[in-house]
Subunit: 378 residues, 2 copies
Amino acid sequence: MKHFTRRSFSSLATKGILGSALLGNLPMANAFTLSDKNKKLGIALVGLGSYSTYQLAPSLQETEHCYLAGIVTGTKEKESIWKEKYNIPKQSIYNYDNFDAIVKNDTIDIVYVALPNSMHADFCIRAAKAGKHVICEKPMAVSVAECDAIINACNENNVKLSVGYRMQSDPYTKEVKKFVKEKTFGDVLFVSSDAGYISKGNPDQWRLNKKLSGGGALMNMGVYAIQTSIYGTGQNPISVSAQEFSTRPDYFKDTDETITAQFKFENGAVAHMMTSHNANGNRLKVHCSDGWFQLDPAHSYGPISGITSNGNILEFPHKRQQALQMDDFSKHILTGSKNIAPGEMGKRDMIIVEAIYKSISEGGKEQKLSLGNLGVVS
Amino acid sequence: MKHFTRRSFSSLATKGILGSALLGNLPMANAFTLSDKNKKLGIALVGLGSYSTYQLAPSLQETEHCYLAGIVTGTKEKESIWKEKYNIPKQSIYNYDNFDAIVKNDTIDIVYVALPNSMHADFCIRAAKAGKHVICEKPMAVSVAECDAIINACNENNVKLSVGYRMQSDPYTKEVKKFVKEKTFGDVLFVSSDAGYISKGNPDQWRLNKKLSGGGALMNMGVYAIQTSIYGTGQNPISVSAQEFSTRPDYFKDTDETITAQFKFENGAVAHMMTSHNANGNRLKVHCSDGWFQLDPAHSYGPISGITSNGNILEFPHKRQQALQMDDFSKHILTGSKNIAPGEMGKRDMIIVEAIYKSISEGGKEQKLSLGNLGVVS
């Protein structure tokens, strides 16, 4: 439930979407009719790199419950380009220095932080302090401690938080979660996940700079394989072991190139994953007691492709995952519907990332995990 | 090249297949015309379990260069059944005690040992001492030392030796080896292999009895994943690490249930594999610098199914792999053609198996391997 602060109250009042919710303990869901275009939430994108440019901004042209309301960029020349292209009001354009003034901007409800990983915590916390709901791009941060700081800041400021796990909103993922939950193919026994691509030609990119990225393939693509391992089994792992492979140290000077990891689960399932900046991989295969299902590709921008052991081809209408994701989060804010990619999920994955790095540093030693149901959204 | 002993000489003379090879240093290939039905080599199957019953004997009805000439069984009642079904002469039926008398049987050229793993070495060595060529079912033995003993016995007795790696004769495997060798999709970067099935209902089978099997999933199905990892990269691994998972210790009392392993290769490729008696898996996926190819299923009795990143479906006429395998070995004996599954290949895989078990016993520690090109057949 959203708690009303002075700021959120006036923000909602401005949009004319205050209703009976204020009259008692009714959930916010009762206050809104989602079909009302006026109730679209305003999103400000922080960081106008390729992800914002080619994924988030185009997706925001397709969203039903939110729209591109502002930008935050460190590159002066991008301001006018975006202003013109997306008709963004001058007063909703910020740079990294004056960003905190966003607190006064009632047209911005959500701040989407799409900066290099090491900058996530700073801007998510500043956004929360400005009373804005937060979407933090994956990986959530560069350490568990930073994840905690983001979660705490959002809690303290009564704003909602989600992680940019677009796959959680994809219908193929939802189908996988349904198969697992309903035991459509029986008990999950073994999950195999790959997530990688071949990086070349640009050794100076931020993703290969540990100070900015916090890590290489694991922090970037590995998080997808961790996610698929978990929604492929429906549980958090109880232990992990991992190995690192380095074959192009001249290019990957600072960050991990290829990592394999193995997971144990309480329900007896076993998973192994591969992530790489030096090899392609885009697959989830789940072997169950009575059959199997597979996504390949499993986590690209789509359309995803799926098949099951009974010969069924999975087919769902394709929509930009980021549009679905931002709409899901907006609905969560507006109606109190489930937050399907909460901060706890991002923190959990970062706990696993840190355990993987620790296992590697200890020669592949198994690391016990005590995650309980942290971040598991059924 | 086959060296002529008194026994092999008289055996060939009996069949009327001696030719110019004896006149000088000409390879045996010159001595034979393979289309001549009379030159079929006689095979004796040792151990009439399900593999001999449902795979080897039916396959020997389809072979061109060998035929089912004898049986060796420890089960009296099987003698008459097989004698009648396959028209086997009484004098070519042996039990485990009188097996060594096979030395006098000129109708038997090859002995195929399809017994539980722990009995391979004994019977392969006895077959070699009887002057018979040897096919040893996979895994070759329960230790590297036993593999060496088999190889030595075959060398000392001038007989040929191959391991029952039927997949080496399958056209899909040959296509994979061609892709790798010709770099059809560029350099191999990452290989993922799974080989497993769900064992249930019979905890007392020999495969789950370590004294007879030498190990569980790894010794049985794992060898396929080791093989695909190697022909998927075209090289032997230079190191391996591994993990074991036990979720049904009540059923798998004595042998490994699920094992994952990771390989490094000299050429920079990385591979990971899974083998299990508690989960299905039957796949080889090879990611290269310019594309990928996949077999799924990759090592069942067929037909195998393959696809490549350019959308090509691999399609080869299906023939029983065991028939192809026994014909390949017979041609090797008859013509000096390449032995595509030599004893050294079986030994190499057992070195890897032992390294995997060692890694597991050392908490997943990487084990260096110094295999050179041992057992690599291009």
